[in-house]
């Protein structure tokens, strides 16, 4: 069935189809529509779930962990300040190997206060041990909501999954979305089965301490688990295509990269404007291409190195900054390229912080700058002749 939905609404539909048994809900702009829609679905009976009105984001994820510890499929959602307030629980859930799915509306973090979209919140938590995906459009958001549980709950992975949607730009914009049937969804996503849970026949002690002898081993196994997601993501997308007919491209999505001389690497919904710009430059004879990173964790080192192995230069366009250094996505991409002895010149373009607009001409200027050569780290609209 096709419906005209916002990114948030589409994601909520995907969660409905995923049948979470416990939902813990705390509102924060621009995620609120998700928890509102889910509460309506519970009220009208289209979603059978224990809906818990928690009193903070820390409690939202703590409650989801408690539910997951019973073997129940759990869901929560947040953004920005909320993500940071529950940050302790991010590490806790990842270390506890609870395959919770959480939607994060990418939003700037205070100070100054700002409710608009950038990617500083989720990117600051890359080290927490969660799988992190970045959707470009509402259809992908819905599809990732379904795929996320399949990936997270796979016994080889057993890792929580953060599904990121650009705040306002994706969460609140509308497009035509295909909503699968419950029958299709149930065929794709079986019930959650695990030994990592309370058991009255074989009682367990969970979320315990581990000293110097064994702690390192637990952490290594968690690392292996999230790395295993690379393979599981590919398998899941194959199965997704077989049932729903939509094909996804794995950890990254390449556009005209095979013969590109200049590539922009980016995350999320800005990728569409980048592809349009690449098309326009191609008409001018410039071989431009775009790599959209879909998963920042596990990080697609090999795929990125391959995509950038033939270019003269690439630019990482991102909506975040790691203060005192450079953009985090650039750090990850640059490392991937250099690990394979890539020869391309890499450049970092930071923009869009606090929801500041990135225009088509900004993106064209990025391509033009890397063709000419420019500073290693650039700030769009500051010190580039386009101040203010």
């Amino acid at each position: 069935m096709k419906k005209f939905l916002s990114g948030n609404e589409a994601f909520a539909e995907g969660i409905r189809l995923a049948r979470p048994e416990v939902i813990s809900a705390y509102p924060i702009t621009p995620q609120t529509i998700v928890v509102e829609r889910l509460s309506e679905m519970v009220e009208n009976g289209s979603l059978k779930s224990e809906y818990v009105h928690v009193e903070s984001e820390h409690s939202a994820l703590s409650c989801a962990m408690g539910a997951s510890a019973t073997g129940a499929r759990a869901f929560t959602a947040t953004s920005s300040q909320g993500l940071l307030y529950m940050a302790e629980c991010l590490y806790y859930a990842a270390g506890g190997r609870f395959p919770i799915v959480m939607m994060n509306a990418d939003r700037s973090t205070a100070l100054p206060w700002n409710i608009y979209g950038d990617q500083r919140d989720s990117l600051s938590q890359l080290d927490s041990g969660w799988i992190q995906s970045y959707a470009e459009n509402a259809q992908e958001a819905l599809d990732l909501a379904l795929m996320s549980y399949r990936i997270a709950e796979d016994k080889r992975v057993s890792t929580p999954y953060m599904a990121n949607l650009d705040g306002f730009v994706l969460t609140h914009t509308y497009e035509k979305v295909d909503i699968p049937t419950e029958e299709e969804a149930d065929r794709f996503l079986p019930a959650y089965e695990t030994d990592n849970r309370i058991d009255f026949d074989n009682p367990k002690n969970m979320a315990f301490s581990a000293g110097p002898d064994t702690n390192f081993i637990f952490k290594y196994k968690a690392h292996e688990g999230i790395l295993a997601a690379k393979e599981v993501i590919k398998e899941t997308e194959n199965e997704f295509e077989a049932i729903f007919g939509r094909r996804y491209s794995g950890l990254i999505e390449n556009y005209l990269t095979d013969d590109a001389d200049y590539i922009i690497v980016t995350l999320g919904s800005i990728a569409g404007l980048c592809r349009k710009t690449a098309d326009r430059l191609r008409e001018q004879g410039i071989r431009a291409g775009v790599v959209r990173i879909r998963y920042m964790r596990p990080f697609p080192n090999e795929e990125i190195a391959e995509a950038l192995s033939r270019v003269k230069a690439y630019a990482v366009l991102e909506k975040d900054i790691s203060f005192g250094n450079e953009g985090t996505v650039f750090t990850n991409v640059n490392s991937a390229v250099k690990k394979e002895n890539g020869k391309a010149e890499g450049y970092n373009f930071i923009g869009g912080l606090g929801g500041r607009n990135i225009s088509a001409s900004d993106i064209e200027n990025i391509f033009k700058s890397i063709i000419k050569g420019t500073d290693r780290v650039n700030f769009i609209g500051i010190g580039d002749g386009n101040n203010g």
């Binding site: 270390g95 506890g96 190997r97 057993s158 030994d195 990592n196 849970r197 074989n202 009682p203 367990k204 002690n205 969970m206 979320a207 315990f208 581990a210 002898d213 064994t214 081993i217 637990f218 196994k221 688990g225």
Partner: protein
């Protein structure tokens, strides 16, 4: 079933579980080494009132055939049982190895 000492006490790479989730009541060390004094039940004086059983913080006292019995693997020698016993049936002795 109360927690008890198991055979396997050392956990290498393959033994460490994937998750922070493991069998409940799995013990690998005793607490007997904590004692400098040990409580001893004089059964002829013990009336089986069960106060020591109720008030032991470590749960090492059980009542068997109406008399208090102490599990010396896990008794820490705190002496609460000595104090609480009204007939004075429990006395402290120096810990012996």
């Amino acid at each position: 079933m109360k927690p008890y000492i198991r055979e396997k006490k050392v956990f290498g790479f393959d033994d460490v579980p994937e998750n922070t989730c493991f069998e409940a009541g799995y013990l690998v060390t005793v607490n007997s080494g904590w004692r400098s004094i040990r409580p001893v039940v004089h059964t002829e004086k013990c009336v089986g009132c069960e106060q020591c059983y109720l008030y032991c913080p470590d749960g090492v006292i059980s009542i068997q055939n109406g008399k208090a019995v102490i599990d010396y693997d896990f008794c820490k020698g705190c002496g609460i049982c000595v104090k609480i016993c009204r007939p004075g049936a429990i006395e402290t002795e120096a810990e012996r190895k």
